[in-house]
Every structure is written in C-alpha cells, then in structure tokens.
C-alpha cells in the first residue's frame, strides 16, 4: 500500500525554484533512497513532506489523504523526521530528548503515560541509546546524538519515516546497524522510509529503490542497479566516479572515487 505519494511538486524559496515537478511514491515496508548532489533539493523535499514547508504546486498525500488536510499534531503521529544536523539543547537528558517524540501524544500537563514510557524505552533500545538515558545530551558524541534523534523519531511510532542523512556522524558499525534497524522496522512494522543518503554505497546496499534528484528534478528512479549507473552518476555529479559490481555477486553496484579523471 502506498503510504507516501508526492505528485508533481514544485517549490521555490522567494522565487528561486528548487523543486521542479517531483513525483515519487513509497509503500509500506519499502525503503526509497534519495540521492543527489549538494543543493539538489533533497532536504527541501523532506521538509515539504514533513509539513514544514508547503508546495506552491502539486500535491503530497500521506496515507491517501492530502497533506493539507492533516492537523499538524495528527501528522506528527504518522510522519517522523530525522533532520540533517539537528540541534538538541545540551541540558536535556537522553531520556527527555527521546520523550520529545511523544509530544503529539501528550496532553496537558505533559505527563508521560505508561504507553508513552514503553514507546520511549523501545525506541531507545532500537537505536542503541538505552545505556545513555540519564546522560545529558551535551556529554554525547556526535554519533550518539544522531542516534538519540533517531530514537526520538521512532518514539513517534510513525508510519512514514523521513531520514535526512541519518548516518552522517556514525562509524561504520553504527551506519550498518542503524540502516539494518531501519530496514527491519520497515519490514516488520510496514514503515514507509524515505532516506537521503549521501554515501552512494549505503544507498545502493540498503534501498529497495533509489531516486536520483538533480537540480530539482528526478533524473532516474528505480532499483539500485538501474540508477547507480556510470553515465547517470556522471550526469548528476560530474566525472570522477567508478561504478563496479560487488565481489559477492550481489546485484547492488558499488561506487568508488576515480582519481585518474580530472
């Protein structure tokens, strides 16, 4: 079932067009990797879907309902966002930061119910930050903080998960474990995942489908081996990229920097 649908969306910042007719769909249980060069409009698209910005043209549907018809509080129970380089005040504890994910469920006076506490605990275990719960955010490493933000998004118990560079500060173990976790959740809970990934190898290994966004347009969309193709990547990123097949005979291509071409 299609949980997220973007139909011919146009968006400009103060008259400067950034998205020029973007369409894509993500079904429950599916991971769509979004790749593209800096400034292509990936974060902008994510913000449009999270309801932070509104498109000037086109439509976005969440669970088959137009985004515009959602109350923001209800939307936050269905769509969760892990933003690029997000800030959390250093004097929050990890527990308190993850509890913020329950905001759309809380009513005055903001006391967490048993259900909220369970959701927070589960999210912290998934994101491997349970052992940090009483630490202050100011005392965490960059990668630990990134996983706290992921835990916060999971505590929202979303149907659609938007990830903007979720692996940016993670070591290779946590890159893999985070993406495996997300993959597992997508399969088990039927989450629709849209993930911006700069690392083309991670995108290739973990996405069910990949969309390549260039200058506000989807240049290619399809399985990793359909999109991660040398001439496509050269058109998007310029030269200096080598596409190879994996030694383990997987159909997912790998990408290397090619220093011979200037």
């Amino acid at each position: 079932m299609v949980l997220l649908e973007v139909k011919d969306v146009h968006f400009s910042y103060d008259g400067k067009p950034v998205l020029k007719g973007v369409s894509l769909q993500v079904s429950g249980g599916e991971i769509l990797g979004l790749i593209g060069p800096n400034g292509a409009g990936k974060s902008t698209l994510i913000k449009l879907i999270a309801g932070i910005l509104a498109p000037q043209e086109g439509a976005i549907e969440i669970l088959g309902r137009p985004l515009k018809s959602w109350r923001r509080q209800d939307l936050a129970k269905v769509v969760a966002l892990v933003p690029q380089g997000a800030y959390i005040p250093p004097t929050f504890t990890v527990w308190e930061s993850v509890l913020l994910g329950r905001t759309p469920y809380l009513h005055f006076p903001g006391i967490a119910s048993k259900k909220d506490i369970e959701a927070v605990q589960r999210a912290m275990e998934w994101a491997e930050v349970g052992h940090l719960q009483d630490k202050f955010v100011g005392e965490l490493s960059g990668g630990e903080r990134q996983r706290v933000i992921l835990a916060r998004a999971l505590a929202q118990e979303p149907k659609v998960l938007l990830l903007d560079e979720p692996t940016a500060h993670l070591d290779i173990h946590h890159q893999v474990s985070t993406l495996k976790l997300i993959q597992g959740l997508a399969r088990a809970e039927g989450l629709a995942v849209l993930a911006v990934l700069h690392d083309l190898n991670l995108a290739s290994s973990f996405s069910d489908r990949i969309a390549l966004l260039v200058e506000g347009k989807v240049l290619a969309q399809g399985s990793p081996e359909e999109v991660i193709v040398a001439d496509r990547l050269h058109r998007a990123y310029g030269s200096g990229i080598l596409v190879m097949s994996r030694p383990d005979n997987s159909t997912r291509p790998i990408v290397l920097p090619d220093l011979r071409i200037s």
Binding site: K47, I52, P83, A86, P90, F92, F136
Partner: protein, 346 residues
Amino acid sequence: MLSVRVTLRRRRWLSLAVAVLLLLAVSLIATSWGAAGIPASAVARILLGQGEYPATWQTILFQIRIPRIILGGIVGMTLAVAGAVYQAIFRNPLADPYLLGVSSGASFGAALAIYFVWRFSWGGLNAVSLAAFGGAMLATAAIYSLGRVGGKAPITTLILAGVAIGALLSSATTFFMFTAREAFHTINLLGWLMGSLALADWARIKTIAPYVAIAFGVIAYYSHILNVLQLDEEQAMALGVEVERVKLLIIASASLATAAAVSVSGVIGFVGIIIPHMVRLIWGSDYRFLLPMSAILGGLCLILADGLIRLLFAPRELPIGVVTAFLGAPFFLYLLRRYKKEVFYF
C-alpha cells in the same frame, strides 16, 4: 537503569518541596523586618491573632509589610517565569523578560506620566503605573508586528526589532529625564527605573493578580511544548507543534504578566535572567519542572532582597535591583563554576 531516572525525578520533587517551604519560611520571617521596630515575637502573636498590641502595629503588618511581601513574591515569580519562557522561545541565554520592549516601553510610559505630571488613576494604580503598563504592551505589540516577515515571526528579526524599538524609546526616556522641569521628577523617574516595592498595597495586588494568573495559566498549559520549542522551529513543527500560534500566545502571556509586574514595581533586573539559568544548571532543562521551580525561586529571591533592604537600610529605600544583583551575581558565578555543564546554546 530506570532507577537513576526515578532518582532524578525524586530529587527534583524533593527540591521543589524544600523550595516551597523555604519560600514560606522566608516570607514569614520577612514580616518582622522593617522600619518600625516590632519584635519578631509580637509579629508572630499578631499573625496568630493573639495578644494585645498597638493598632499601628496591626496596620503596619497587614497593610504594609504583608502586601509588600506578597507583591514581591508575585513580581519575582513573574520575572523568573517570563525569563524562562523567553529563553526557550528565543533559544538565547541572554533573553530576559524585557527582550521584547516591556522595560523600554514601560519606562517610556512612566517617563511620560512623570514628565507631564499625569494624575489619572484606576484600580489602585496611579498614572505612572498605568502609563507604564500601556507603554509596555504597545512596545511589545509594535515589535512583534514589525518583526513579522511573511506571516512568520522569526526570532532574529524579533530580537533586532526589539533592539531598535528599545533604543528609540530609551533615548526618549533619557530625554525626558534630562529635561524634566523639577529635579524631583528626575529622581522619581530614576527610582522607578531601578525598581522598588515600596508602594505595595492590596489594591495593586488585586489589580495585577488576574493578568499574572491568566498568563501563568497559558504558560503552564504549554509547559511541555516549551521543551519542544527549545529545539529549532523546524523540529518543533515536525513534532506536531503549531509553532507560530503557540509562540504568539506564549509571548503575549509572558509580556502581559511582565508588563503588569513592571507597572507596579518598576524595572527589576537580574531575576528574570539568572533564576532560570540557575535552575537549568542544577536540575536540567525540563520545563515541566523548570517553570514551577523558577517561579518559587524568583519569588524567594525578591522577597529576600526586599526584606534585606528593609532590615539593613530602613527607613531608607534602596532600589531592589541593587540587592538582587549584588548578592545574586556572585552566587550565580559560584554555581557556574561548580556545575561546569554546557548550559549555553551556541
């Protein structure tokens, strides 16, 4: 692992209970401080309704000292809560309740009233108080509308609009101070600008209490949302918060309460900026706890400062800001050194 979190929560509740008891104790003790030398034992018995004492003692206690303590408590609570709220919304450690023109607007209003010797009054408030209240609300409204850009009120433009309007109003206030026809007008204005609780009475309390109560109600309702607003606005929106609406409501409430407090007490600095930081340093940033704790400590701080003025300097009145800063600043520096946490945001 759960137990550590529970311990933290218990520690917070215990601290809050201790603070409340301390507030009550200091309030009681402060009733025996003042110019008229009424012995503490007599005060205690009068309060308990026992013993025969001169009627003037009764009057001093019930019409002067107790209202002064209660007003001090209300003003201190208001400043601390408004400061905490502004720091969250503006995500700026230097934010105080006066950031959006409440003090410059109030001072300008007071200056007008003193300079032109206005004489009207309402609800126990004289012209100076009323003009100060009006000036504060007008200045905040002007700053908020000037700081709006395309349906939103970004925090940086709000702060900068506040700086500009504040400078404009302060220059006018200074002009009135220097060109006043009578020297005592200048002194009055100067005294008002530095804050004092000397004019406290029941009528003033009754007049400002509803504004403060309504504002506190709104702020308390949104206390868990204030946790989210300490993130950036995009994250707050993604967590389901109607940022612009909530921001407007909370800023309006905090400004209303501060304007009401300032109109009867003048501009008292320091409390609104330091108390929330102190709570944040010791107990963390959860506003469901930080707000009540700041309120209690803010009230305590002003009652204590004002009490010390009466105890040490009576019958002379000293601007209360002198005492809050003189004693509070070293204490805060001590806390800053002791809890070397990264409280600030940049």
